[in-house]
Every structure is written in structure tokens, then in C-alpha cells.
């Protein structure tokens, strides 16, 4: 259909240049200026009141106190710390405790959440019902309740150190905490590091060779078995020749205390386990959502090709589910990091707990809150960036989403 000449000429004419001062623009600019003024005024008065109130109690905002002696002890520390150290150092101790709790909780909750998430989609009725019950109960309880219930149960219900329970694998559990077997390397740490590096490189090279071979011939050679076997042989040889001394330090009762192994306090164990099972219930639901988002036909096609159910899950379903899982999982991780701050409820010295004690001692809430908020923002932004990178990295090739 041909357009009439007049229509063409109207279309060809360049659109009129918008006037610089339309009513709409002026109004918008006025509104924005007003809002900016209100915000600035509110900030100014808040700042003015804070300084006046602080001056009334004889202090001014000043970060100099951070170098002064803190004078209080913490429940546990990853770096050397005594009450004689500075406030800056005790805040660092708190931050490291927060990061330790976050990292271990992240690992455990992901493992449990993945397992429960797969269980939610199981064909086994009993497994499905049990995992559904777990998810529904844990998701609908406040995390503080779970933490406190477990903590009090542990403090009250666990035996004294001399009657500690022995768990499978040689770990000990008593009312002073959990004692785990821990690897010890008194001799040959450098050699061990070298072996690990060589092993990692060798595994990557072998994995590429396997992939190339599969691409060329369609035959898949074993990957995990030779890799692990190689590592075991290398470690055994190193241990036998005496180049490396790697053994497990087992916790054992000696006198009035348990020595050896790694000691996790009751506070840490209660927080770690309860936050992990709490977040695992949320992660499980995310994983389930990812799995069911994969088209059923994919599974059937894979089964028709002769893949076993485990491989269908690992090679076909999970790689596609990851795409759906990663964004909400990232949010969940950010929540998890923030949720470690309920550590204060059981007296674990995390960043917020240390801050609270410091505020009560120094009456410097503004400086300390600013430090803590800054640290949390930094940790969260770093994590978000890492998750973003991961989301981009796991995006399947040739998909437009």
C-alpha cells in the first residue's frame, strides 16, 4: 500500500525541538529542588542535634578512640587478641568472627539445601514428604527462636567434658562445644602445597584431554577416579618417605580438658548449625524451583539417550537449573551474611556484638555504627559483585536470557 505524499512529508519533517522551559520541566525541577532542600535540611538538623547532644555529654565525633585500649575480652578470636589491644583490633577480631561464621554457614547451608532441594523433587513419596515438612517448619520459624532453642538445649542437655559424647568419625561433643578431628602438618607444609598445586594443574590438563577425546570420539574416559587416585598415591608416597607428615589430630580427654583436634565453642556450633538449617530450608526451595523449571522433555530425552538418573540430574538438569537458581541464591547468601548478626543473642563475639560492647563502654555510637555499617556494605557489595561474576560465568553459551 502506497502512502500518500502528504503523509510522507509529515513523517520526514524533523520533530520539533522541545522547548527548554516547558511547564512540565519547570515543575519537575522545582519539585526536585524542594526535595533536595528538605533532605539537606533534615541531614543538617540531624547532624546539628547529634553534635549538640554529644557535646552535652562532653564528647565530639572523633575516630581517635579506635587506637585506645579496648579493655574487654571476646568469646573467641582467630587472631591474637588480649583486652590490652586497641578498639580497632577488637573490631577486626569481630569482623573475622563474622566472616568465619558466614563462610562456614554458607558452605553447610548450601550442601544441606542442595540435598533437601533435590529430595523435594524425589520420586520417593516418603523422602518428598519428609523434606517438605522440614522446609515448611524451618521456613516459618523465626531464626532467633531456632538459634536460642538449640543454644539452650546444647548448654543444658550436653554432658560435661569428661563424659563427652563421641560422634561418628571421632568428633567429641560436650557442653563446652564441638571438638572435630583436624589435619595436622608438622613437617613438609611446602612440599604438600607443591603436591597440591601439581595435582590441581594435572587434573585440569587431564580434564581438558578427556573433554577433547570425548569431542573427537564420543568416548568418555574416567576423570574423577584417576585424579583422586593420583592424589592418594602422591600423598601416600610423601608420607611414607617422610617428606611430609600429614595426620589427623584426634580430640581426646586429657585431665580436665579435651586436647587435640579443632575446638568449636557452644556459641559458634549453635549458631553455625541453626543458621545453616534455617537457610538450608530457603535454599532447598530455590533449588527445587530451579529443578522444576527445567522442561520435563529434557529429562525424558536424556533418559531416552540412555543416561542414568544420577547423570541426568548432574549433566542435564542441574546445569540448566543453575541459571534459575543463581540469582535468588545470591540474595539468600547476602541475607545469610547479614543474619550472622544475631550472634549477639548467644554471646558470640561477632562484629555487631563487639560494636555493642564498645558502644556501652565508650558512648561513641555514631562512630562505631558508621564503621559497622561501612564494613557490612563493603562485605555485601563484594559478595554481590562475586555472585554477579558467577552468574555471568555460568550463563550457558548461545542462550538469550
Amino acid at each position: 500500500m502506497a502512502a500518500t505524499p502528504t503523509a510522507v512529508s509529515t513523517l520526514d519533517r524533523p520533530p520539533p525541538k522541545p522547548a527548554l522551559f516547558t511547564r512540565r520541566r519547570v515543575r519537575s525541577a522545582a519539585w526536585q529542588t524542594a526535595l533536595a532542600l528538605v533532605v539537606i535540611a533534615a541531614g543538617y538538623f540531624a547532624h546539628l542535634n547529634v553534635t549538640r547532644n554529644l557535646a552535652a555529654s562532653g564528647v565530639a565525633i572523633d575516630f581517635g578512640f579506635l587506637t585506645r585500649e579496648a579493655g574487654f575480652d571476646v568469646s573467641e578470636q582467630l587472631i591474637a587478641y588480649t583486652p590490652k589491644d586497641s578498639y580497632a583490633r577488637v573490631l577486626l577480631v569481630g569482623l573475622l568472627n563474622t566472616l568465619l561464621l558466614a563462610a562456614t554457614t554458607l558452605a553447610l547451608s548450601t550442601a544441606v539445601g542442595l540435598a533437601v532441594g533435590v529430595a523435594l523433587t524425589s520420586r520417593n513419596w516418603l523422602v518428598r514428604v519428609l523434606s517438605r515438612t522440614y522446609v515448611e517448619v524451618l521456613r516459618n520459624l523465626p531464626k532467633l527462636l531456632i538459634v536460642l532453642a538449640l543454644y539452650i538445649a546444647m548448654v543444658r542437655g550436653l554432658p560435661l567434658v569428661r563424659a563427652a559424647w563421641t560422634l561418628p568419625g571421632g568428633a567429641l561433643l560436650a557442653n563446652r562445644g564441638l571438638y572435630l578431628p583436624w589435619p595436622e602438618i608438622p613437617v613438609g607444609g611446602a612440599v604438600l602445597a607443591a603436591i597440591s598445586a601439581v595435582w590441581a594443574v594435572a587434573t585440569i590438563v587431564w580434564a581438558r584431554a578427556v573433554r577433547r577425546h570425548q569431542d573427537l570420539t564420543g568416548v568418555r574416559r574416567p576423570l574423577a577416579l584417576p585424579s583422586l587416585l593420583g592424589l592418594a598415591v602422591a600423598l601416600a608416597v610423601a608420607n611414607l618417605t617422610g617428606a611430609v607428615d600429614l595426620h589427623w589430630s584426634m580430640p581426646a580427654l586429657k585431665g580436665f580438658n579435651i586436647v587435640g583436634g579443632a575446638h568449636l565453642t557452644v556459641q559458634f556450633t549453635a549458631l553455625w548449625v541453626s543458621l545453616s538449617v534455617y537457610h538450608a530450608s530457603q535454599i532447598a526451595e530455590i533449588v527445587r524451583g530451579g529443578i522444576v523449571s527445567v522442561d520435563k522433555g529434557q529429562r525424558e530425552a536424556a533418559a531416552a539417550l540412555g543416561l542414568r538418573p544420577g547423570r541426568v540430574l548432574r549433566l542435564i538438569v542441574l546445569p540448566q537449573a543453575i541459571r534459575v537458581i543463581v540469582p535468588p541464591l545470591g540474595n539468600q547468601y547476602l541475607n545469610l551474611i547479614k543474619n550472622t548478626s544475631i550472634a549477639l543473642a548467644v554471646g558470640y563475639s561477632d562484629l555487631v556484638g563487639v560494636m555493642n560492647t564498645a558502644v556501652n563502654q565508650t558512648f561513641r555510637p555514631v562512630e562505631l555504627m558508621l564503621v559497622v555499617m561501612g564494613v557490612f556494605l563493603a562485605v555485601n557489595l563484594t559478595t554481590a559483585a562475586a555472585l554477579n561474576w558467577f552468574a555471568v560465568a555460568t550463563r550457558p553459551v548461545g542462550r538469550e536470557t
Binding site: 519537575s28 542535634n49 520417593n124 523422602v127 539452650i152 548478626s341 560494636m355
Partner: protein, 360 residues
């Protein structure tokens, strides 16, 4: 092809059906058989222990301390004796009915809101009425009620009051923030982004501490602000940021063509927003909002960390009595059941709302 009429199909004996169901759902291959046996073993081990502790060896509601000390199971008599403390904490003993009534008022408000058929303005009126009734009951000083200090508002009425009314106030603020974040005006957008991202970047416990430590300092000198008000304010600020993100997810999915269509039939900017955009965007955002609301309700218990007495703190108060020290688990179970029932109930209702909302 031989099609069997379902009505004419010969009925198979029930036992065969059960066996076939079990084969298909429990013993479907070696892996599933092992799983079934393992979970069954776990249940056979765990259920008797739970039943023994909860019922068989437990002391009933009418028992006493001596019976509880002698028994190896749960002590439900604890709840009879200490139920008041768990529910209302240190609220003056003779005035407890007011705290209980306040809790009931809040619950009625929530239920009424969940089944509300009126418009937005009347809904806001409902929440305002509920809030004022609660305040009158809890604080007293009006209608001849004895004044009660805010530090003694404990337990259930406190948790319900703080969670319900902060979130009711935060929801419209969150909608405004979400719209502001999408605004073309730079200043408006910057303020919204700063609010949302700063709050979402820090933990709720830190936000509550800011309410207790910083907010009172921001008041003009000599002006006292109770920690109840501070917590109310920071909780509202906190929830609004999360709601804003949920609403934004609804706005992001919104089809721009509808806005253009609304403009072209002559709707104003404001009416387009109110009649076209928000109803649909909020519906899309409903699942995310439900999650935030449930999460916000559960997290209100964190006020215990900054010294307000939520249900966990009043439970501790109840077990502070040496006689009844050993029964915190019973208190935890009851509080946990309360949260389970309310959270599941509310999320089910929201799920229904999302379903019955007309699809266009």
C-alpha cells in the same frame, strides 16, 4: 484402539492398589528402596522418642513442679503457671486483660485486612483504628485506664503491634519508594536508591541498634524519645526498603504499552498509576511481598536483642524462675507453634489472593 470406559473398568482389590502405589512411589528401583528403608528407620527411631517426650512421659497441664521434676518428659504444667508471663511479660498483673485485648485487636485487624473488600482508604482507616485502639489499651491514660510505661509492653501484644503496624505503614512508603526509584527526576531517584540500598546492605540488628543509639541523638536536645518509638520508626524505614524492592520487581515486568494506551485514552499521569500500573504491578509483586511480610513478622523477634521483650525474651523471663528453669524447650515449642500457624495461615491467604486476583 481399545479404549476402556472408566466406569466399566473392573475394580481391583484395594490391597493391590496400595501395593502398586507403594511400588511406584517407594520401591521404584534400588536407590529408592534404600532411601525408603533409611527414612523409615529414621522415623521408627525418632517418632517413639518424640511421642514419649511429648505425651507418654509428660506432665499434663494440671500437674505441678514436683511432678515435673519427677517426670522425664515435657512439663506442660509450666505453661499453665507461666503462660501469663510468656504472653504479656511484665505488664502489670491486674491490667493484663488490656494487653491481651490489644493482642486480640491486632489479630482481628490483620484478619479483617486479609479479607478486606473495601478500597485502599478504608483499609488505611482500619489499620489506623486498630493502631489507636492498641495504643489506648496498652498505654492507658485515656478512658480512665491506668497509664502503663512502654517498657512494660511485652510479649505477644508487643510483637503483634510492632510487626503489623510498622509493615502496614511501610507498605505505602515502599510503593512510593519503588516509584521514586523508577522516576526520571534525578534527585528523587537518588534519594530512593540511597534509602533502599543503604538499608538492604546492613543487617536488621544493626538497623535496630541505630534506632536505639543514633535516633535519640538526632532529636533536639532535651527531647526524650522512648525506645519503643525509635524501634517503631526504624522498623518502618527497614520494611519500606524491602517492600520497595518487591514492588519494583512488579514494576519491572510491567508492559509499557499499557501506559501509552492509558495516556492515549486521556488518563492523567496519576490516574494511570493508580488505575492501570499499580493494581497489576502489585499483583505481580504479591509473592515477593508475601515473603517479605512473613520474613518481617518473624524478624520482629530480633527486637529482643536491643532490649525489648518479644516472645523469646518473655520465655526467658518465665524460665528465670529457679523452680521452672528447666522448661525453656516447652516455651520454645509453644512460641514456635504460634509462628508456624500464623506464618502458614497468612502466606496461604496471600497465595489465594494471588490466585483469585483476576487475570487479564
Amino acid at each position: 484402539m481399545n479404549v476402556v470406559d472408566p466406569d466399566r473398568r473392573p475394580r481391583r482389590p484395594r490391597r493391590v492398589v496400595a501395593w502398586e502405589w507403594a511400588r511406584a512411589n517407594l520401591f521404584d528401583g534400588p536407590v529408592n528402596t534404600v532411601l525408603t528403608l533409611a527414612t523409615t528407620a529414621f522415623l521408627v527411631w525418632a517418632i517413639p522418642i518424640a511421642v514419649r517426650w511429648l505425651i507418654v512421659d509428660a506432665v499434663g497441664f494440671t500437674g505441678d513442679v514436683a511432678a515435673c521434676k519427677a517426670a522425664s518428659g515435657a512439663c506442660w504444667a509450666f505453661l499453665r503457671v507461666k503462660g501469663d508471663v510468656i504472653l504479656t511479660g511484665t505488664y502489670p498483673f491486674d491490667e493484663r486483660w488490656r494487653a491481651q485485648a490489644a493482642a486480640v485487636v491486632t489479630m482481628v485487624t490483620v484478619v479483617a485486612a486479609l479479607f478486606w473488600r473495601g478500597g485502599f482508604v478504608s483499609l488505611a482507616g482500619l489499620f489506623l483504628a486498630g493502631c489507636l485502639a492498641d495504643l489506648a489499651l496498652l498505654s492507658g491514660g485515656v478512658f480512665g485506664l491506668t497509664p502503663v510505661d512502654a517498657t512494660r509492653w511485652n510479649g505477644l501484644p508487643l510483637v503483634l503491634f510492632l510487626s503489623v503496624f510498622t509493615m502496614a505503614l511501610a507498605l505505602p512508603i515502599g510503593v512510593v519508594l519503588a516509584l521514586a526509584r523508577k522516576s526520571r527526576a534525578v534527585v528523587v531517584r537518588a534519594v530512593a536508591i540511597a534509602w533502599i540500598e543503604a538499608i538492604r546492605g546492613i543487617p536488621m540488628v544493626a538497623v535496630l541498634f541505630a534506632g536505639v543509639f543514633i535516633l535519640p541523638l538526632m532529636m533536639p536536645p532535651g527531647q526524650h524519645v522512648s525506645s519503643m518509638i525509635s524501634i517503631f520508626v526504624v522498623l518502618t524505614i527497614f520494611h519500606a526498603a524491602y517492600f520497595a524492592e518487591d514492588v519494583r520487581s512488579g514494576l519491572d515486568d510491567f508492559d509499557r504499552g499499557q501506559i501509552e494506551a492509558a495516556y492515549s485514552i486521556g488518563l492523567t499521569h496519576w490516574r494511570t498509576l493508580r488505575l492501570v500500573v499499580l493494581p497489576q504491578a502489585l499483583r505481580t509483586a504479591l509473592p515477593a511481598l508475601t515473603n517479605s511480610i512473613i520474613g518481617g513478622f518473624k524478624d520482629t523477634s530480633l527486637v529482643a536483642i536491643v532490649g525489648l521483650f518479644d516472645l523469646m525474651a518473655t520465655s526467658r523471663l518465665a524460665t528465670a524462675d529457679v523452680e521452672w528453669q528447666a522448661y525453656s524447650l516447652e516455651a520454645n515449642i509453644v512460641v514456635g507453634l504460634f509462628y508456624l500457624v500464623t506464618c502458614i495461615g497468612v502466606s496461604e491467604r496471600f497465595r489465594r489472593l494471588a490466585e483469585i486476583a483476576p487475570e487479564r
